[in-house]
Structure formats: structure tokens, C-alpha cells
Amino acid sequence: MSAIGELSTMTRRKGPMTKEEKKANGRDNKAAYVFLLPWLIGLVVITVGPMLMSLYLSFTDYNLLQPPQWVGIDNFVRMFGDARLHNSLRVTFTYVLVGVPLQLAVALVIALVLDKGLRGLPFYRSIFYLPSLLGGSVAVAILWKQIFGTTGLVNQVLAMIGIQGPGWISDPNTALGSIILLHVWTFGSPMIIFLAGLRQIPNMYYEAAEVDGATTLQKFWRITLPMLSPIIFFNLVLQIIGSFQSFTQAFIVSGGNGGPSDSTMFFTLYLYQKGFGQFDMGYASAMAWFLLVIIGAFTAINFIASKYWVFYDD
């Protein structure tokens, strides 16, 4: 079961402890905490402590040199009137809302084509998977910068058929599109999750449908899609959370400034500029918490909406 599946069953099952659990309770406490010690220290020092600290800092003015000064909700008020921040939200939302569905759709289509014991499956799978391992690297971002440049590979190919392409990453209208394409290019890992999911659909459903004379399309809509919906949901949640945090590609492709004219200024890039460019740590912390709230809201909406379209077999 996936981490998300486990979380949702944990919240669903809240009965009293069984006798066995009660009896076992406390038996291994000492050993357990020894084994958990590194994780517990990490939780306090690296995760929860800094989280609370950044919550505090978000109400302060802090530049690393002078001690933090309490400014109340000033940072949040500033965010409200910060046009560049609004723009960065728009860029990030476009990236997430276009890139994620597109990537998952490609992943699903290729997984469907790959399913059903196609000859050469391991070979194809490797080819499709490789980009998702390399996609997060600076090296591939550099490649992208060249490919979609004014004299890049894309325009060289277009020139062969007589089209003069724009400078994709130097044009504010197409720069974000090039980065979204890079995200779609990494469809390999959700594809593998889809493939694993497709394997688990019992063949008898398809056989029964065939007996009833169902068409391929009907089988897809009535069997494959509902049976795969938990996997689609899982991919959706994870990809949305991950995409909101996208940073490297936009940073490298734009040369660190989110350009041209802020068209690739992702929220995380703006956060980095505020925090580590201008050392406006209070504001950066407020932005970080805002990001957490946005991601949390999206995940919550996802979970609520899932009740209407995700189908659980059990």
C-alpha cells in the first residue's frame, strides 16, 4: 500500500485498542526508542523545530545579522500587495495545473500501450523511464536551455521544414511552456506506477465484459479507469505536491532570475531570491508557510474530491 493509502486508512480506523495491542503495549518501549532515536532527533531538530521556528520568523523582520524583530502580520500584509508574488503564484499554478495533468495523461496512455505483454516491454520501459531520472538535474536543464534557445535544436529542426521558430525561452509567452514540457518529459516514473497498477486488475473482469460484447473503449471506461483510479489519485497527489516545489529547471533555464520578465518566476524561485538573495528571512518564512497552506489545501481538496471518483475494490 502506498503512503497515502496508509494515511487514509489510519484516519478511517479509529477503534479502541485490541486486547493484544494493550498487552503488547510498553513491552518494547525501551528498545523501540533506541531504534527510533536518530529519527526522533531528526524530527525535532531538522523538521518540527525549524517548522515552528519559521512560523515564528514569519511574524518578524529578520536579516540574519540583527535579531528578529516582531512585526505582527506585516509580512502577510506585504504579500497581499506584492505584485511579483502574485505573478509567481500565477506561474506556479499554471505549471502545476497544466504540467501535472498533461504528464499523467501521457504516462497513462503509454502505460496502456505498453501493457498486455508487448514484445520488448523492458526495453521500452527503460527508454521511457530514463528521462525521469535525469530530468531533475542541472545538466538536463542546461540541455533544455540550448534546445529551446533561439538557435537551439528545436529551431534547427523547424528551419529544415522552413519555419522560423521563436526564441522559446527568451520569449515570455513560451518560456514557461518549455519548462512544462520538461516536466511532461519525465513521465516515466508515474508510468511505472500505472503499469504496476494495470497488472493488478483481474483479467476476469475483461473476460466477463468480452462475453457481454463490450468494446475496447467501453472496457477502458468501465473497467480500466475505475480500477486504476486509486493509482491515478496517488500519482495526482504526489505530482501536485512535488510540482509546487519545482525549482532547479526554472532556475537554470532562466539564469536564476525567473525571466524573461518574470514569466518563469516560480514561487520557490521568488522565495529563494527573497530569503537567500536579499536575506529577507521573515518574508521568506511567511512565503514558505503560505506555500505549505496552498499545498495542504490542494491535497485536502484532492482527498475530498476523491470520494466522488476514486473507486476502491475492497
Binding site: 531504534f35 523538521t47 531533475g136 506506477i193 537554470i252 506555500l291
Partner: protein, 310 residues
């Protein structure tokens, strides 16, 4: 004729009833059906080769371009090579303050530290969650699952403040120490899943023989969870090798640069004319990941398929 026509469907029905394989077999008797299936198969292969070709082409082109004189990169979209130009590699290797190998070694140190850290800390936590009963287990387990989804940016500012106050900026510690503390909760989860699949009888047998938890963990569980450890090693390798954000924040001294930040410095320092050497070093930087992919693919795919991650 009628016999031949009526027979195959019956045979087909029977074979699909008896066969437990998830893949349907085409009945050899039905010519029209198998022809149809063959055309379908050909179309599928055509689609896959086309899509796969488009996807891989930029990578191949980068490799080929790195072996070409610089000016060709801007006007040669093809893949054929007249002669091998190695100067991009020699130029790129020494283009920055240090030879590129220096950054590779830095990256290797961080990667090695992260792998060791993840293997030890995550497997310990996973053993506790999968095998031991203790108070607060459910709560902690839930928190652990939640931290998998926590955006890194929420903690980065205070983490930076913390590490800069103890003088760890421009050291590798901020990149390694969190791994020693099992903050890559994803791997804890992966290992918990794996340990749950190991029969409990093995633990019981060891316990009857008088083994305590450390002994059961080291002698029974760890040797059996080698596949999960391999998956963890491989993913940690790739993620750490590619990690840009952490290195960008903590490593500002060129002495300490890892490969991603060195490449970034390379992009910034060069005018647009030296794409050849930039490509060459990009390929050098991707090479270890490619090797790991080649030999560790089995573990990668299994890891993704069973736990579903990026």
C-alpha cells in the same frame, strides 16, 4: 469451413477460462483475429518507437554535440559525426577554478555520506515501526508519513540559520547530517513495507534462541532486507547527486562546490559560445546516474512500483 469457423471461438473461450496468465493469448486458429492483432501490435510498436525516439533524441544529440566543434552545435540537428572532437572535454574539464574532477569528488563525498546515513538511520526507524510495540507508535507513524509530503522550503530558512550559527555553511555537514537523522522519511516507509513482508516466525525463532532486538535486527532482518537497502542506496545516490537546491544554499565557496552548483557556475561564467564544453561536462555529470540506471534499474522500478514515488 464452418467447422473451422466455429471451433476457434470455443477453443479461445476455454483457454481464457483455464489460463491464469494475465496476458491473453491470441488463438492460432483465427486468422482474421491474429492478423488484426498483428496490425495492432505494429501500430503500438510504431507509436512507442516514435515517442521513445523523440524523448531520447535530445540526450543523444547532446552526446553527439559534445564531440563536435562548437559552431556545429548551432546548425547541425543531425546525429552523424565526421570526426571525434575531444577538445570540448579537455576544455570543459579545466574551465572552472578547479578541475571538474574536484567537484565530482565533492559530490561523491556527499553522496557516500548520505547513503550511509540513510541506510543506518532509516533501517533502524523502520525496524521499530514494523516490528516493535511502543506507546505513541501510531502517532509517530502518522507523523512520519506526513513528513514525506512536507515541502522542503518550509524548513529551509530556520535550517539555514541553525547550520550557519554552528558554522556549517560551506561544509558538507548540512547535506549529510539530516540523512543520518532519517529525515528522508520516504525510505523509512519503503523499508517498513519491506520488513512487514518478512515472516515473523524468523524473529520468533531468533528470540527463542535468546537473541535481543539488536541481534534480531542485525542478524535476521538486515540480511533479509538487502533489496530494500539496494533500492534506498540507488535512489539516495541519484537524488543526492542531482541535488541542486541544498548545495546552492549551503555551498558558496568554489572549493566546496558539488557537481550541480559547479555546472551552474559554468553556465553563468561562459558566454553562449562554449556550449560544447558545457555539454561535455553535463554529460560527465550525468554519466554516474546513467551507470546506476543501467545496473540498478531492477531495484529502481521495483521501488517505484511498490511504493509509488518520484
Amino acid at each position: 469451413m464452418t467447422k473451422i469457423q466455429t471451433l476457434p471461438p470455443a477453443a479461445e473461450g476455454q483457454s481464457s477460462k483455464t489460463s491464469k496468465s494475465p496476458r491473453r493469448r491470441e488463438s492460432p486458429g483465427n486468422l482474421a483475429f491474429s492478423r488484426n492483432a498483428r496490425i495492432k501490435g505494429l501500430i503500438k510498436h510504431a507509436i512507442l518507437i516514435l515517442v521513445g525516439g523523440i524523448m531520447i533524441y535530445p540526450l543523444l544529440w547532446m552526446v553527439v554535440s559534445s564531440l563536435r566543434p562548437n559552431d556545429l552545435i548551432f546548425r547541425e540537428p543531425g546525429l552523424w559525426l565526421n570526426n571525434l572532437e575531444m577538445s570540448n572535454y579537455t576544455d570543459g574539464w579545466s574551465a572552472l577554478t578547479h578541475p571538474f574532477g574536484h567537484y565530482m569528488i565533492n559530490s561523491a563525498i556527499v553522496v557516500l555520506g548520505s547513503i550511509v546515513g540513510n541506510l543506518i538511520s532509516c533501517s533502524m526507524a523502520a525496524y521499530a515501526f514494523a516490528r516493535l510495540q511502543f506507546s505513541g507508535k501510531k502517532l509517530f507513524f502518522g507523523i512520519m508519513l506526513l513528513t514525506i509530503m512536507l515541502p522542503f522550503h518550509v524548513v529551509i530558512v530556520p535550517q539555514y540559520i541553525l547550520f550557519s550559527q554552528i558554522g556549517w555553511v560551506n561544509t558538507f555537514w548540512p547535506l549529510i547530517v539530516p540523512k543520518l537523522l532519517a529525515t528522508d522519511a520516504f525510505f523509512v516507509f519503503l523499508m517498513v513495507q519491506f520488513i512487514r513482508g518478512i515472516p515473523k516466525e524468523l524473529d520468533e525463532a531468533a528470540r527463542i534462541d535468546g537473541a535481543g532486538h539488536p541481534r534480531i535486527f542485525l542478524r535476521v532482518i538486515l540480511p533479509l532486507m538487502v533489496p530494500a537497502l539496494a533500492t534506498t542506496t540507488i535512489f539516495t545516490f541519484i537524488w543526492t547527486w542531482n541535488d541542486f537546491f541544498g548545495a546552492l544554499i549551503y555551498l558558496t565557496d568554489p572549493d566546496m562546490f558539488t557537481v550541480p552548483v559547479a555546472l551552474r557556475a559554468f553556465v553563468d561564467s561562459q558566454s553562449a559560445t562554449s556550449w560544447g564544453s558545457l555539454f561535455a561536462m553535463s554529460i560527465v555529470s550525468l554519466f554516474p546516474v546513467f551507470l546506476v540506471f543501467l545496473f540498478g534499474q531492477r531495484f529502481l522500478i521495483k521501488g517505484i512500483a511498490t511504493t509509488g514515488i518520484k
